[in-house]
């Protein structure tokens, strides 16, 4: 019996199936293609293709004023666009040597940490969806909605926020924004706890996630991983701690690290980061009580629009208003790199200025683009369903991938 079987398998030449995962596929949450060579359910080889939503941000930025580039950064990681906006403002401030008042820095910290929570909430609930737990996704959207309400109150937009200005914020937090923040600080921990009760020690979820799509610390560093994905592999690199910006050095928080770098570790690192973010927001609220009220930007007439009634009645304000809108700032020559801890890791802007009204060269270090190249290697030998889970737990976002 067994002999016969051997003969028949020897005669059959081994064949692989080629499977196109994407460019548009309901399980990939974005537009990217993976050509998989499959041996049954197992992936033998993979090749990733990106660039389906490439929008030439770096080229467009060479033709725009500094304040107009903010809207491009919205569209990088659109799950946490306020962080991108702030990163751009801080880069320009570094180029122009602008010192932002403490109160504006703390307000920025609040906005950045809220958007980090929104980003991680989406990523973690999508991990739930891909393991078959659709409920958590809908639970989470209630919490995200609260955060977006605050963004709407502060800047008028929800997804592509264009929040803040070079030199601070465009307006102060309104009483309604503070009330929303109170509601967030009350509701989000409750919702998060409920979310964790559903998943963290859930046997089905654990069996599904532990050991799925692991990456070692050495390999993660080789591939220039940053953010929660690197920390899940066990390297405690966080830009907020190593190169603090916006007064992060004054805050007390823990940088969670994992050990295996698998899907479960990535999930848990993001969970803990959300709790830390909540604690940072609370600390920022306390610090804000000591700061003078009503200050929300630096005195940089080159960038901060004067109040409208001044513009109509005051010559100087009118001139500044005109200069800002036409993009005529006195730009110093220089070359800077500034990085922040974005939702997915080190988001950096490299600007070369030759004194013109727009950057001579602007390069964006997009964490997603850099770590997604390891994906093909990470899923080799995995089951197809694990590959989907690995992708969603890495939080691959098409906007940041292609720029």
């Amino acid at each position: 019996m067994s002999k016969e079987k051997n003969i028949s398998t020897d005669l059959i030449e081994k064949e692989y199936t080629t499977l196109n995962l994407g460019p548009t596929h309901p399980a990939t949450h974005g537009i990217f293609q993976n050509v998989l060579k499959m041996d049954g359910e197992i992936i033998v080889e993979a090749e990733s293709t990106v660039g389906y939503i490439h929008r030439a941000f770096e080229k467009i930025a060479e033709h725009r004023n500094y304040y107009q580039i903010t809207t491009l950064t919205d569209r990088l990681n659109y799950c946490s666009s306020p962080i991108n906006n702030m990163a751009w403002h801080m880069s320009v401030e570094k180029l122009f040597n602008i010192e932002v008042p403490k109160r504006a820095q703390y307000l920025r910290v609040i906005i950045m940490e809220l958007s980090r929570i929104a980003d991680h909430l989406i990523c973690n609930s999508v991990i739930g969806v891909d393991t078959g737990a659709l409920t958590v996704y809908f639970y989470i959207f209630q919490l995200r909605e609260l955060i977006y309400e605050l963004f709407e109150e502060v800047c008028g937009a929800r997804l592509t926020t264009n929040i803040g200005r070079v030199g601070g914020l465009e307006r102060d937090f309104s009483p309604k924004a503070w009330a929303t923040l109170d509601k967030i600080l009350e509701e989000v921990p409750k919702g998060l706890k409920e979310f964790e009760n559903l998943l963290v020690r859930n046997r089905i979820f654990m069996d599904r996630c532990i050991g799925c799509g692991p990456i070692s610390a050495e390999m993660a560093l080789q591939y220039s991983f940053t953010g929660p994905n690197l920390r899940a592999a066990g390297v405690d690199y966080d830009v907020r701690v190593m190169n603090p910006y916006s007064s992060y050095e004054e805050f007390d928080f823990i940088v969670p690290v994992g050990t295996n770098g698998d899907t479960y570790d990535r999930f848990m690192v993001r969970e803990e980061e959300m709790w830390q973010s909540l604690s940072i927001i609370k600390q920022a609220r306390e610090k804000l009580k000591k700061e003078p009220e009503g200050v929300f930007n630096a005195n940089v007439p080159d960038f901060v629009l004067p109040p409208k009634e001044e513009v109509y009645n005051n010559m100087e304000a009118l001139i500044y208003h005109f200069k800002i809108v036409m993009g005529e700032a006195n730009v110093p020559k220089g070359e800077i790199y500034h990085a922040v801890e974005g939702g997915n890791g080190e988001l950096g802007f490299y600007i070369i200025s030759d004194g013109g009204r727009s950057p001579y060269r602007m390069h964006i270090r997009r964490p997603c683009f850099i770590y997604y190249q390891a994906y093909a290697e990470m899923i080799k030998g995995c089951l197809l369903s694990d590959a989907i889970l690995t992708m969603s737990s890495m939080n691959v976002i098409a906007g940041e991938l292609d720029a």
């Binding site: 990106v50 770096e58 560093l221 080789q222 220039s224 390297v235 690199y237 080190e346």
Partner: protein
């Protein structure tokens, strides 16, 4: 070690190891920047990776630059390296002629340089010698030009479906 000390330290080590391959160094904003000869870039990155004291074992990013006025050195690439243990950050730069835009790839040292180099090949036409899979990454394969070079306008000049009688380009 502060930035100036780091600048001097790396400069000494690079000079001792590569001699003429080292061209210049300066402190730009908060970054020590070193300009090197293009032929030694991979060796220099490997040397800095393996050096026990400096051990720059994390590649932050790399970006192409184009200065059309610098005749003979039009194209350039900048590399940013990071020592995560001691938080040292440096920037390396190489410049070369646009007529011969080739440079050794650093993928043997950093696997993560793979897509970063492909991106700069795509946008600037810089050929990275020794790269395992050097092809376009974000633009379409038959594009025929390298759009981030300064001579290309923002809008695609090869398109014929746009009428600019009224608004111009």
């Amino acid at each position: 070690m502060d930035k100036e000390a780091l600048l001097v330290k790396v400069q000494e080590k690079l000079k001792a190891e590569f001699g003429g391959g080292f061209i210049s160094s300066e402190l730009i904003a908060d970054y020590p920047v070193f300009t090197l000869n293009r032929d030694i870039i991979c060796d220099a990155v490997r040397f800095l990776y393996n050096d026990e004291e400096l051990s720059f074992q994390f590649l932050t990013n790399l970006a192409g630059i184009h200065y059309p006025e610098n005749k003979g050195h039009e194209l350039g690439v900048m590399y940013q390296l990071h020592n995560l243990r001691k938080n040292y950050r440096i920037r390396l730069k190489v410049f070369f002629s646009i007529n011969e835009p080739s440079i050794p790839s650093i993928t043997p040292v950093f696997k993560g340089a793979n897509w970063m180099e492909r991106q700069e090949f795509d946008f600037f036409g810089i050929v990275f010698k020794g790269h395992p899979n050097l092809k376009r990454i974000l633009n379409m394969d038959d594009m025929g030009y390298h759009p981030m070079r300064k001579e290309f306008p923002l809008e695609d000049g090869t398109r014929e479906d746009k009428d600019d009688k009224m608004f111009g380009r």
